[in-house]
Every structure is written in C-alpha cells, then in structure tokens.
C-alpha cells in the first residue's frame, strides 16, 4: 500500500521548488521582478506555519543543502576578490570598516533603546553588518551588470560578511563566558572555530589546485571540480560544527591567489548555481513565521531603516576619496541592504546558544521578510540607476 501522507511529505520540497521556479520565471519575464523575490514569496507562503504545505519537522538534509547553496556563492565571492586592489586603493577597506562599524553601532543603539537585552542586541548588531552576497550575486548575474557599483557591492558584501561572522563569534564567546564562566568553552565557540575553519579552507584550496594540476585539467573548465570541492568542504565543516561560511570564503580567496586566474569557469556555477539558489531562497523564507513577523513589525522596520541609513552614510562619506562619484556611492549604499542575517544564524549552528535567541528573533523575522522581497528589487534598481544594468532587457 502506498502511504499517501508519506508520499506527500516526501514530494513537498521538490514540488515547492518547482512552483517557486515557475513563479520566478513568470515574474521575471512579465514584470521584470528578480527571480529570487518570487522564490522567497513561495517559500514563505508554503511554510509549515503559513499554508503548511512544507513539512513541519526541520530536515537536517535541507539545512545542509541550503548551506551548500550559500557557500557556493561565498566561494565565488572569495574567488573574485583581488587582494591587490585593497592595497592599491586603501579606501575600499576603509569604507568597509566604516560602514560596518556604523551599522553595528546604529543597530545596537536601536535595539538597546527598544529594550532588548544586551547580548541579543550585540549579536543582532553583528549579524546586521553583513550584506547578503547570495542576493547580490544572483541579481548581478541576472541583470549582467558591471561597473564600479557592481564591483564594490560584491567586495563590500564579502568583506562585511567576514567581519560579521568574526564579530558574531567573538560576541558569542563573550556571551558563553558570561553565562558559564568557562573560558575554554568560550574560546572554542568563537576564536578556535574561526581559526580552524580558516585553516580547513586553505587546506581545501591547496588540495584542489594540486589535484587539478596532477590531472592536467588546468586549461579546461574547472567549474565542476570547484563545486564538488566546496560541497565536500561544507559537509565536513557542517559535520564538525565549524564555520562553513568562513571556510568556503577562505577557500575561494586562497584558490584564486594560488593560481592567479579563474579560467573558464561558469559564472554563478551555471545551472547548478541556479538550482541551488532556488533552494536557498525558498528555504530561508520558509523559516519565517507570520506571527513573529507581525509581532516584530515595528522594530523590524526600524531595524531595516537604521541599517540602511548607516550603510548609505558610511559608504557615501568615503565615495569621493575612494575614486567614485557621490551619486554612485549613494547607489552602492542602497544596494547593500539585503541581509543574510537569518541565513548565517541558521547555518552557523548556534547550538551553544541553545534557545536563547530563538524567542528574541522577533525583530529579525520582520526585517528578513521585508528584505527578502525589497532587497533584491532595491539592488536591481540601484544598479539600473547607476547605469550598470540595462533598464529593460535588451534583445
């Protein structure tokens, strides 16, 4: 006998992804809506707490897959970073530090003023610094945009994601120390995890390059080789409860500088990347709960507003000295709005935190929901207004 209920629960995810893809294509063709907006919409609507089509139980497989999806994009970001630029134009790094610090201070200020506990405020402020490389990469690939705004958005998001994870880990360590008094547990949860992840990322890079050289596949398309290496690295760090985000970013950076040239790899990992992006954006939106969103609507929107203001200010202030117009600086500020806070939170397993944060996630739920839809649109408009992406699809 076929058990209808089990068939339904097993096909719920694939069917949701298919539906998300369909809606995404329709929205893109007809309304020129970024595809990922539609993915998030479908994910949120079919979530267990909304329509209830997706299964209630959180499947570790889905978390792992989402992790892989996010980390593939992070790898590509790391691979795109040319460290020499940070040397030849120190204003880029300065802009990153300034906008991230301003964002951190602004969010922390807002949340403590709103009466949130200090630990929560600090952790959310750290996460709020990051701009989602996943959202940016998909939009940039989708509109084929290029220019200084595009370039700097990708660099700033990579840099502030690293900063966010680093600060997040330190605050986590501090929080553990404060509650348990165990300095070893505190250090392990933060700096040791960070350090080991970096080393693993470097190791993966050296090993992959060595393999490619031994196999003499250097001149050919190595997209698949890198994709598989990233997936393995994510599975390993995920299993060891380390930081997949840090490990894959390091892997990307190290792989690029070990060989100088990214040859003949497909941008965005081709179809594989597209498949994973449907999964990632549906998954993240499906983690949001309508009642949480409603409960934290005011604080969530304030969070988004304060964060946007801080980022626009931080990037705008240094736009001219860093070699671009104020106008472009402003649009870059607008483009940094998508947040990966929830992604990082879900993926970087906060088991040490227990349930401490879950109930206090309220501000993040509304902010994430708002930004899953508005973020991609803002990025797209910012790139169009900066004249780096066509305003309409050229034939």
């Amino acid at each position: 006998m076929v058990d209808a209920a089990s068939v339904l629960s097993e096909t719920a995810w694939p069917l949701t992804l298919l539906l998300a893809w369909l809606v995404g294509e329709y929205g893109f063709q007809r309304l020129r809506l970024p595809r990922i907006c539609a993915y998030a919409l479908v994910g949120f609507a079919l979530a267990p707490t909304q329509a209830g089509f997706l299964p209630q139980a959180q499947s570790p497989t889905m978390v792992l897959l989402a992790n892989m999806a996010f980390c593939l994009i992070l790898f590509e970001c790391g691979y795109g970073i040319n460290l020499r630029w940070l040397r030849s134009n120190p204003w880029i790094a300065a802009t990153s530090v300034l906008e991230a610090s301003l964002t951190f201070a602004a969010i922390y200020g807002l949340l403590t003023w709103w009466g949130q506990p200090m630990a929560t405020a600090l952790l959310l402020a750290a996460l709020g610094m990051a701009t989602s490389p996943a959202t940016l990469m998909r939009i940039v690939t989708e509109c084929r945009s290029s220019g200084q705004a595009t370039e700097r958005l990708l660099y700033l998001s990579t840099l502030n994601t690293v900063l966010a994870v680093f600060v997040f880990k330190i605050i986590l360590g501090w929080a553990v120390l404060r509650t348990s008094g165990n300095i070893f547990a505190a250090a392990y949860g933060s700096l040791v995890v960070f350090g080991i992840s970096v080393v693993l990322g470097m190791f993966a890079a050296v090993l992959t390059l060595l393999l490619l050289r031994v196999l003499r596949r250097c001149g050919q398309d190595s997209t698949l080789a890198f994709a598989l290496a990233v997936i393995s690295l994510v599975a390993l760090t995920f299993g060891l409860k380390l930081s997949p985000v840090v490990a894959t970013l390091t892997f990307g950076l190290w792989a690029r500088h070990g060989r100088m040239v990214l040859n003949a790899s497909q941008r965005g990992f081709g179809s594989l990347g597209s498949l994973f992006s449907v999964l990632l954006f549906v998954f993240i939106a499906s983690r949001l709960q309508w009642d949480q969103v409603v409960a934290g609507l005011d604080i969530g929107l304030a969070f988004v507003g304060v964060r946007l203001a801080a980022k626009v200010l931080g990037i705008g202030l240094l736009a001219h000295p860093s070699g671009i117009s104020w106008r472009k600086g402003f649009f870059i500020g607008l483009g940094t709005v998508p947040t990966p806070a929830l992604v990082i939170l879900v993926l970087e397993q906060t088991r040490l935190l227990g349930n401490m944060l879950v109930d206090q996630l309220v501000p993040l739920a509304a902010a994430t929901l708002a930004l899953e839809f508005i973020g991609p649109l803002l990025v797209q408009w910012a790139l169009v207004w900066a004249h780096e992406a066509p305003a309409f699809r050229e034939v």
């Binding site: 795109g80 970073i81 040319n82 020499r84 630029w85 030849s88 134009n89 084929r144 290029s146 220019g147 200084q148 370039e151 390059l209 490619l212 050289r213 250097c218 001149g219 070990g258 060989r259 100088m260 040239v261 990214l262 040859n263 003949a264 860093s322 070699g323 671009i324 117009s325 472009k328 004249h387 780096e388 066509p390």
Partner: protein
C-alpha cells in the same frame, strides 16, 4: 551636408589615437568601465585627450600634434602612466591588443551618447562586434592634393603597418589563426576597404563625395571606414589599419615609421601611384592579416613576390636618411627589432601555449602595457 574644405596643416606633423581595453582584474574579462574611468580622470588634468568609445569596455586616447619621436613618446608614456594609476584605484586593468581574446560581443553595452546610439541602431549587432581596438595615425598635409597623393602612394606599405602592429590572434575565446583578426571585423562594414582612386581634391569632392552624398548612403567623411581616409577638418590623412599594439613604445614607433615613409614618398622617389596598384591590394592586405611578418607580398608594379618581413627591413634601410632628418632613428630601430623578435600576436600566443588558458593572454597584455619592457617571468603556476 557638403564636404568641408580641406584645412591645411604642417606637412608631416603627427597625431596618434589609441583605442584601449578596460578589463576587470577579478576575471580578466572586458568590463564596462569607461564611465567610471572618465569620471575619475576628470578630477585631474589629463596629459592628452581621453574620450569614450562606442562600447563601455573601450577608452580612446589621443596625443597633441607632434613633429618628433621623443616628445610624442614622452606624451604617450605620460598618458599611459596616468591611466594605469587611475585604473588601479578602480580594480581595472588597461591594455592594448587589437581584440580582447575572449570577451563575448553580446555582453557589451553601448556608451550613452547620441552618435553611438545612432550607429548602434543602424548597424545592429555589428556595433557591439566592433568592440575592437585600433591605432589611428594622423599625418599632416599642406594641401588636399598632397593628402590624396600620400593616401594612394602608401597603398603598397599598408601591409607593413598591419603586420607590425598585429596583436589580435584570438576572437571570442578561439584562435583565429590570423595575426590581425581585428581587420576582418572592420571589413564587415559596407564602406570599408580602400578609398576610390581619385588624385585631386576637386575631383574627390565633385566626382565622388557629392555623388555618394546624393545617393543618401553617406552624410560625412565619418561614414567611411577606409584603411586610409582624408580628414579635411584636421588637414590630415588617417591610417586606420593598425591594431593597438601592446605597448605605447610600439605605437609611437609605428607613427614615426609612417612619418618617415611619407617624407620619402613626398620626395617623389617612387613611380607615382596608379589605379592598377590596387589589383594586388586586397591580397597583400590578407597576407599581412593572416600571416603577419611571415606573409608574402606581391609588388604592385613588378608583381615580384617577397617575404613581408624582408620587405619591411629593406624599407627601413631605404628611408634612413628621412628618419635621420626627422630625428626618429630610434623608432626605426625599435621596429627592426620587432621584425626579428616577432609580433605582439606571437607574444600573446606564446602566453596561451605556456599557460593553457585565454586569461593568461590578457595578463601578458596588461604586463606589457604598464611596464614597457619584455614580459617578465610569469606568475602563472599552472601549465
């Protein structure tokens, strides 16, 4: 719009234009960076002229009017240094080369300027395909008839300039087996190739231009994409067959080779040009594009065949007196070495063979452009 009168200028004065590539240092692909570059360059005085080109991955620079090799080279080096410095701040690489080895034309963006949009509407995809990079050399002429004389007298030397500047072996990621594949893209335009054989400006104006204008096909001289065309508003002829070389030193040397050659031709040391000279023109041009310095030339008067490289070396020797008078022996010396060592196209192919990927050609071009010295040991690790 009738043809404007030919403005007289100092005979044998020189001006050079170079179309340069803007590449992303993240992946070495062409990048739409000219608006950002121009915005940054506007902040300080530029030692020459810098203007946008039809797609945003291109930038054009132009020198002032010069009469001697040394100051011309100095200005070009100074423009180069300013550009390289600005580009570094934006994570952009800037380099020569007639084509970008692997850019895809469909990804190009037309620069926002009325004339470029018009051209794009007329020619469609050809405009984006026209993301190719050439060197144009202007030579001043004291009269319009002198300009037309030089234009035709130069016909047998056009292949020299193609072979010496050839730096476009790859197009859209594939080896074309040409030394200069760029000129094939120019040939796609309906009004390209050689100019009609007309010897006086009056004849040109009344017999040719007026008729062409009447047909409605052309509106101004800008609509002609000839290998050499008169430029009445500057009082010059403009040689347009050169790929942008990988270094400004090569570009300056080519300009001064043209200058000395024009002086030689103006001294009436060769039989005057004739319509029949053009019987072998397209064949010779093809040989230069396809085989570069290893091509074979057919002499337009004697029909004798001669290796192109050898013909260049013989010409360099023949015009030494003129070069000495113009102070450009260094330019001739540079080109003699180039004939012996091989063209820029060879240098790019060598990078490809050594490292096995198309990106390494862009890397080699970047190194060559900013350092102006033989390419250093490469940093590529794979092989």
């Amino acid at each position: 719009m009738p043809l404007e009168p030919f403005k007289s200028s100092d005979s044998l004065s020189l001006g050079v234009e170079l179309e340069l590539q803007l590449v992303s240092l993240s992946d070495f692909d062409l990048t739409e960076a000219s608006p950002d570059m121009l915005e940054l360059l506007r902040r300080r005085p530029f030692p020459g002229q810098v203007t946008p080109e039809v797609t945003e991955g291109m930038l054009e620079i132009a020198t002032d009017v010069h009469t001697r090799h040394a100051p011309l080279l100095r200005q070009m080096q100074s423009m180069r240094d300013t550009l390289v410095q600005a580009a570094e701040r934006l994570n952009i690489g800037i380099c020569g080369g007639g084509t970008h080895p692997f850019q895809m034309w469909s990804e190009r963006r037309i620069f926002q300027k009325a004339r470029f949009q018009e051209v794009s509407n007329l020619y469609g995809y050809l405009t984006k395909q026209f993301t190719i990079f050439g060197q144009h050399v202007h030579v001043g002429c004291s009269s319009a008839d002198e300009a037309l004389f030089l234009l035709h007298a130069l016909n047998r030397y056009v292949p020299h300039f193609i072979a010496l500047s050839a730096s476009s072996p790859f197009v859209q990621g594939n080896d074309t087996f040409y030394q200069s594949a760029r000129l094939n893209s120019v040939f796609a335009f309906p009004l390209s190739g050689r100019a009609p054989f007309v010897r006086t400006w009056k004849e040109f104006e009344q017999q040719y231009f007026a008729k062409m204008e009447y047909t409605g096909v052309v509106k101004s001289m800008k609509d002609f994409y000839w290998d050499i065309r008169p430029k009445p508003e500057y009082g010059t002829i403009e040689l347009r067959v050169c790929d942008t070389p990988l270094s400004v030193e090569r570009a300056a040397a080519l300009a001064c080779y043209l200058q000395a050659l024009c002086k030689y031709l103006l001294e009436q040391r060769e039989p005057p040009p004739a319509e029949d000279d053009y019987l072998v023109y397209n064949y010779n041009r093809f040989q230069a594009c396809r085989f570069g310095l290893e091509g074979t030339l057919v002499h337009p008067k004697s029909y004798l065949q001669k290796p192109l490289g050898e013909d260049i070396l013989a010409t360099l020797r023949r015009i030494e007196p003129q070069a000495q008078a113009l102070d450009c022996m260094a330019a001739l010396q540079h080109l003699r070495k180039a004939v012996q060592q091989g063209s820029d196209a060879n240098l790019l192919r060598r990078a490809m063979v050594e490292h096995g990927n198309v990106e390494s050609m862009v890397h080699a071009a970047l190194q060559r452009f900013c350092h102006s010295e033989p390419i250093r040991e490469s940093v590529f690790t794979d092989g």
